[in-house]
Structure formats: C-alpha cells, structure tokens
Amino acid sequence: MKTIQKVRDGKLSVEMHTFGSGGEPLLYLHGAGGLLGVDPFLDELGKDFRVIAPHLPGFGESTGGEQIDDVIDAALFYHELLDELGIDSAHIVGHSMGGMLAAEVAALDVSRAKKLVLVGAAGFWLDENPIPDFFALDLSELGSYLFADPRSPLARMFLAIPEDMNQLADMYVERVKRLSMASKFLWPIPDRGLKKRAYRIAAPTLVLWGASDRLIPPVYAGEFTRHIKHARVQTIEGAGHMLPYEQHDAFCKAVRGFLKG
C-alpha cells in the first residue's frame, strides 16, 4: 500500500510503501535506483513482517532531497521517520546503497536495529577490487553488471527503454533525479567513513551477496564481517547485484530464516 507520510513537522513528505500489517517491523532501504514499483520480495516478506519501504528524499514522490547532503543526513532521516511512526526498534534490510545507509543507521543509534541484513551493500572501497563506475554506464551496459544473466526476461524488463518519447523523457528525468541523490553518497567513491563507525553496530548482521555480483563483487562481504562484530556472510548462487529480484525465493528464505532465527 502506498501512503504519504509527513515528517519534520510536515516539512517533508515521504512516499511509503507498506506490505503486510502483522509481525515485527521491517524497514527496507532501497538502492540507488529506488523502489521499482514492482518489488515482489517485499510482498513476500509482508507475510511475516510489517514491511515499511520508504523512498529516500529526492526519490519518487519523497520531497526534501536538497536537505540531505551526506550519509549522516540520510541515516538521521530514517531515524526521524521511525520516530514519527513510533517504532523504537526494527529489523533493517538494505540493498546496495540502502545497505550502506542501513549500516549507518545501525551505527548511529545501536538500539534501533534489532537485526540487520545488508544485501550487496556499498560503503567500502578496495583498491585491488575497484567497483565499476556505474554512473558512467549506459543502460545497455548496466545489465551485465547488475544481473547474473543479463539476457533473462527479468533483466530485459529492467533495462527496457520505452518507445514513447514522453515516457522516455520522464524515465530519463526520474533516473537523473535518483542517481543525482545517490551521487551524494557514492560519487566518486562510496567510502564515506563507514569503516570508522561500523564498529558500533551491535545488531546481529547477515551479509547477503549474489555470487555473480559484478557491480560490487562478493569480496566486499569480507569488509562488513571485518568491521561489524556479529556479522556472518551468506552467498546466493544464480544471482548478481539485483539478488532480491533475481533469486526472490532464496532471498526471502534467507532473510526470513535470519530474522526469525
């Protein structure tokens, strides 16, 4: 269900998508591409959790992007949203850029995250394993970095370019809006100090990775276990960077198993 939630005394509007109603709260933080509108794994997790998936300011219909300059501003925004919803503690699942921000949320206030799931998360940089410059990739090139199988129907649907010129223009503008927000955390290198703060994370943490992730290679999982006290890694075969979409069942099973366990 889509709702508009006001925060900061009504100054910010947040586009929220909620799934399910019972169960423990689960905050889902999207990646640089934002929520896609068709995110079946969130429906699935909604069967066991009260899933809250907000759009970060500057994404979708959420306003106030100009008030967020860096990862700390973004992490405080998520805290503020949970305050507004009256949620003291929640499971936090973050994908890619959202994983980076989820780790920051959990480091800033260690009581907030009950359990943490980081999926193909950004936030570190290894000189010997540089992350491709995805801001400079064409949509046509992007596929091979995002998906284990860039020719799969799913990948093709993601990378489809509308034929209608107005739709194309709207898509382009929306893409620019989202990636330009993401650039505040990821450009030109996504190391924004998480390595200094990650030691504070107290929540049990599952680091999930697609075995064929060519955008942020699986070697980065090791950085999270190195810096976070209670972290373990699980790798899922047949998935690239878009793991939650590509291996929907295995992903939901792993997340459910960890959060319920």
Binding site: D133, F135, A136, V173, L179, M181, K184, P188
Partner: protein, 434 residues
Amino acid sequence: MKFTWFHLMPYRYLPDDFKDKYRSVWVDIPRDLYDPKVGHRLYNDYLDQLEFADQMGFDGLGVNEHHQNAYGLMPSPNIMGAAMARRTRNANLVILGNSIALYNPPVRVAEEFAMLDVISGGRLVAGFPVGTSMDTNFCYGEVPATLREKYFEAHDLIIKAWTEPDVFAFNGKYTKLRYVNLWPKPIQQPHPPIWIPGGGSVETWDFCADHAYQYSFLSYFGYIAGKKVADGYWNVMAKKGKELNPYSLGFAQVVAVANTDEEAERLYSPHMDYFYNRCLHVYNGFADAPGYRTVSTIRAGVLAQVGKEAALRREGMTWKDFVDQGYIIAGSPKTVRERLTHAMKSLNCGHLMILQQIGSMPPELVRLNTELFAREVMPQMRGLWNGFEDKWSPKPMPEPERAMPAPLNFRRVETNGKTATAAVAPAHESRSAK
C-alpha cells in the same frame, strides 16, 4: 564587433584508428598516446600562434580549462595567461576560464586572476565556467548534485575577495576561511570583467542576466545549432528587462579562410575531420553525469555537445555538410565575411570567439587562416554593432604606462654542427661587472 582568437590546444597526433580503438578522447584516454617532447613543441607553437594573433590586431586571446583531454591540453589556462602576459602587448587575456568549484579554496582563483591582471596591466577577462561534466565530475570527482551550489558559493567568495576593502571571514558550506585578504588585488576596479562560458544550462542565463555578466556560448556546432541557445539567453534577458546589447553575448565559431572556397576545402578538410571525429570522440557515459544538468535544463531540451547523440548527428558528415549546417564557416574571405556577418547578426553576438587552429591543423595553415581573417574579414566587420557600448571588455592601463619586458640577450650558436642557445652579455655590462 570584437574578436577573440581562441585556442583549445589540441594534441595533433592521435592515431588514425583512434576512434575505433579507444572509447574516449577525454577522462580515460591512454597516457601512452601523449609524448611530452611532442607536447613541448605544441605548447610553444600554440603560444606563438596566440602571440601572432596579438600582432594581427585581434582584441582578445582566448584559452580555457580542460582535464585529461587530448583536444584541450590546458589543465591550467592561467599558466598560458602568464606566458601571454609577457609576450603580448595589446590583446586582452580572455581566460574562459577557471572552473571555480574545483579550486580549494576558491580564493586561489581570485589570487591568480589578480596576478594576471596586474602583470598584464589590466588586460584580463575573468571567465568562470561551471566546467563540463567530464572535467568536474569525472576527472575532479565533484559530486554532480552539489556542483552548482559549490560553484555559486565560490563565485560569491571570489567577488567578495576582490571587492571587500578589509580582511573578512567567510563561513560557507564548502569553504570556511578565517582571514580572506587578497594580495595582490586586480588593476581593474572593482574587478576584471566577468564572462561566463556555458554549454546551454538555463540557470546560467539567469545568473548572467542578474549579475550583468557576459554569457559566452562555447559551442563546436556553429551558429545554426547555436541559435537555439542564443535565443534562450536573449529571451531571459528580455523577460528581465535587460538591454539586448550584442556585446553581452560571446559565441565560439570555427572559421577557416583561404583564397578561394575550393582551396579552403582542400586545405582544411582533413583537420575538420580530425577535430569532429577524433577530438570530439567522447564516451557517452562521461557526457552528462546524473545531476550535472538540472532537470529544467534537461526539460528545455538543450542538446549535449559530446556523447552518443552528438556523435550520431555528426555521423558521415562531409565538408559540405559541415559548411551547410554551419559547424564551420569556411571559404574565401568574401564567403566568410558574408556568412559570419549573417551568423553574428542572427545570434545578436558582439564578441566572437574565433577558432582558427582546429584539430590537427599545422602552424603554417594557422598562420594563413589567421592572417587572411585579420586582413580581409575582420576590418570589414568591425562596425557591425556601432551604436552599442561594449561594457564587457577590460579597461587596461594606458599603453605608455605599461611595463615592457626587457630585451633578451640570447642568440642561436652552432657548435660541432649542433644548434644551441647562448646568453650574450653586452660588452659594456661585462666590463662594469668586473
């Protein structure tokens, strides 16, 4: 009408298969394609050409800033400005310019421009471009989303540094300084004229109109494609009730003059091909980082100059196409006079940034092109905007008050069949030293 002789300083020796073998002339071009000994010759040739343009009576000498770019070998145009300040006499030094968001702190620009203005006796035009996405985002790592905000803050700091009589503190978002105190300060008071080179961002038009800065559209596509941008600028000026003074618009145009139209094609055609197909071969992913252009500029439909779309528009273009579509104005002096006059009138442009060295063009052709233009085109176009006041050109010290570089006592000598340079002290000086 005013004429600034503009140099991009390209590398002239990119291989013939460059376009097929490499993805971009900019940002990640392989370093082994650059030979510094060739570079030595090129920089010196190019400075010779700028100095020649000064002697030929051009009003300004133009240089600009690019990074990691084989068609623009000036990471620091100020260094070229310093060289020109000593070896030119009359022409203005049009530095278009320094990408002010890239300097930390931006007072560095205020300082260096003040130095150039003082050395040259007040001949400086200070250009403040935002800079291309390739230069600012990809080469210098600026976050696209905040580049413009940083640019505007740098601008405010530089203007304050030039105009504030006392030491002041500056508490910006991007720059914090306890003591801003500009030594030296510029000759031109309150500051050198400011020109804003742009690629067609709608915000830049408002910025120029609000500050009464000159707007320079540095296009490589020529006056026909450039008209859309010029019209956009004039519309903003008209809406804001500003004077539609042609001197408040600068426009870059490739110009190639020969004795006849046929000779122009024969002499210059290969170099145009080199420029448009090798020099402008930029990887599409670098053309426009997300957030570099604002949503309103994207919606305004201003086309990018580099990248896939731009390359597609140029695909398969012949000399005739380049001429017909106005990318270049080329031909006999008469042809060039007519077309350029028409172009400047259609754009309502009073400051031409003329590009006469283009691509792989060798020194002798540059000289021919420049000389023919200066003798047979420029004088006839001078009076085009009589009745308008040019409020955007520098106001230097009177010529007789300006310092002259002392003559040099070097000469070429031959030793063992090799040429070398030796200092020769005049006889009376060697005696007095003893």
